[in-house]
Symmetry: C2
Subunit: 381 residues, 2 copies
């Protein structure tokens, strides 16, 4: 597989009350096209990752909706898979190029979450859950709290150790001018923040965000500014929607399955990965992910993060240099594409103050629901 990324960009992430989904999308698309040195008329298709525009914004037909802004009426597609919508849209786009159907395509991830009542947002997000969990009144913080409880008991891990995840990610976010939160945190800050679902506190949880991200990809090797970056693997795994049907609470089968296939396709091992963007919707999610992806041994994920092994300028396999979902923000459909933008910048060596020195291999880990779907991409120079 030889898919090249020609350009990539995100909008600012945050509570962007004054912009519409359309404005967010067009800003990201046009920035990515400019970064790729491409005109809209050179694009063969648009793929859109979005979860909530229908449920919250009552807008469907999103391929056609967002392609209007390109000014060219090329084929356009909306791919949905909850918080993995962005990664899944990229997977579909890559397949369409490898099929020979399209040559150069834009993949957009976009989400507008803040202009709705809080209850509608919570109910909207639970659209990714199972009937049983929803009917029992569960929310995603509650579901991930069950995983955290299970993990903490199994491996004798403390809440303070889990708190090292948001501390690291807010530190990383402090170098990212597009991040929703750019202020550092301490373990004490996390520990004293409001309890959301035992043992998760407010600062263990990713925020409600608006934002968009876009990448331009192609099948042809094209000379671009700086280093060429390729996508060497794009793999998807699924599992049951509900936790109670899963074989484990401390590992996501969807991630393990997709990662195994992705490493094989790229011909690498986990230790080859220099930098990864991880789906840290909650602190526990990043801890489990670093183990499922093979970066840390089982039960050691939190300790490795606390020891600085995933932290910028000191670690070996740096996770979430963008600040992750926690600090950079989590506009759900945009997240999977924002992760690609960050790794593209890292591998190009244009990640500014958060540059991982000498990064050659990067990975993105994008999860939908509580692990019902996972998408892994591997990027290499």
């Amino acid at each position: 597989m030889k898919i090249q990324i020609l350009g990539a960009a995100t909008t600012k992430f945050g509570e962007l009350w004054n912009v519409s989904p359309r404005e967010l999308a067009h800003e990201a698309i046009h920035k990515a096209l400019t970064n790729a040195n491409k005109q809209p008329k050179e694009i063969d298709a648009l793929f859109v990752g979005n979860m909530l525009a229908g449920i919250l914004g009552k807008q469907a037909n999103l391929g056609s909706f967002f392609v209007e802004g390109l000014g060219v009426h090329v084929p356009a597609f909306h791919v949905e898979g909850a918080c993995a919508s962005g990664g899944l849209a990229l997977h579909a786009a890559i397949n369409s190029i490898l099929a020979g159907q399209y040559k150069t395509v834009v993949v957009l991830g976009v989400e507008k979450m803040t202009d709705y009542p809080q209850d509608d947002i919570t109910a909207g997000l639970m659209a990714a859950g199972s009937d049983e969990e929803r009917n029992a009144g569960a929310t995603f913080p509650g579901i991930y709290a069950l995983m955290a409880q299970s993990y903490m008991q199994k491996y004798r891990v403390s809440e303070e150790l889990l708190a090292s995840v948001p501390v690291k990610n807010h530190y990383h976010g402090s170098f990212n001018k597009n991040a929703q939160f750019q202020s550092p945190l301490t373990i004490a800050d996390v520990m004293k923040s409001t309890k959301i679902a035992e043992p998760l506190k407010l600062l263990d949880c990713s925020p409600v965000s608006d934002g968009a991200a876009a990448v331009v990809i192609t099948r042809e090797e094209t000379k671009i500014k700086g280093r060429s970056v390729y996508i060497s693997a794009s793999e998807v795994g699924t599992d049951t929607l509900a936790l109670h049907d899963r074989s484990s609470f401390t590992s996501l089968t969807s991630v393990v399955t997709a990662a195994k296939k992705a490493y094989a396709k790229a011909g690498i091992i986990p230790q080859d990965v220099d930098v990864a963007e991880i789906h840290d919707c909650f602190s526990i999610a990043e801890v489990i992910a670093t183990e499922d992806l093979g970066f840390s041994q089982r039960g050691k994920g939190a300790k490795d993060i606390a020891d600085g092994k995933r932290t910028l300028f000191q670690g070996k396999t740096i996770t979430n240099p963008s600040g992750g979902l926690k600090a950079c923000g989590h506009p759900v459909g945009a997240t999977g594409i924002k992760q690609i933008v960050e790794i593209f910048d890292q591998l190009q060596g244009t990640a500014d103050k958060r540059q991982v020195e000498g990064a050659k291999i990067g990975l993105t880990h994008n999860v939908g629901g509580s692990g019902a779907v996972a998408v892994i991409h591997i990027l290499q120079i």
Copy 2:
């Protein structure tokens, strides 16, 4: 391109108050797998076309949601493009096979529309429209009525001539035991039915329906029962959401663009098509489609239908042998796949009482919104 259809099936279409989306989906998937002589464990991925499950049913993450019923956790995807969701899901599935990513996949189209208040259904469907049209209070009957007015004035066509579309399609539906309506109509029945939006009457409009359809496709040539059927073209076109930005009210650019590419890819001309399933959401839609697809000359589409040129057992290029959206029903996300099921049956020679004798080449025409997106598939033996 050499994509083979191994099996295909639909549920009954209609007002199915006693079944859930999950039950509909699983019935269609398992019937299609049985028809294909495949076990769930032989499937590499699931593609789902659906428009309204999020908006009406508050269920997202539909790939994972429906793959649960397969009992195997393969990669699964939800593709949305309003009433073209089914066709777009098939397009994505075909690309994923041609890319070499998956070998044998199930494509499901499913929609549950009847368990919601009528106003919610109307508002939900308008999620496929433009802000301007929605804010002006337009509904799809209203928008297609504008096209009908424009067409009737331009070509001096009467309401009676347009009424020949539902008369033909109800006649066809009378041979289809899965159709929502299996009773014949007369021109007089259509003319005296309730006015919905001048000049469209109730019997010019496709119904609100529940239903699901599924196909099993593969990249390998496999010996199956009866004739082998191949998909020789899968093409997509887009246009603006709103009518007022279009170059014409009497032709859909999205259809013309996609059809031109599809004919070229399949190496055929319109006159080669023996049988076609057309997106007759309203009478005018089938008339315009037969012209946009090149079956009839401009302005002659309605007359050709009235003259019996598209009618079973007498016509040359038969349209909507299933009964079309009007008589077979229009569970929006399922429609694009149901069209494939019908053409597969026709080309296999297993279409029972509605068999088009000697059918070798078939076409499906699936449209989203009022023409913002169109998907054309060409099937051949």
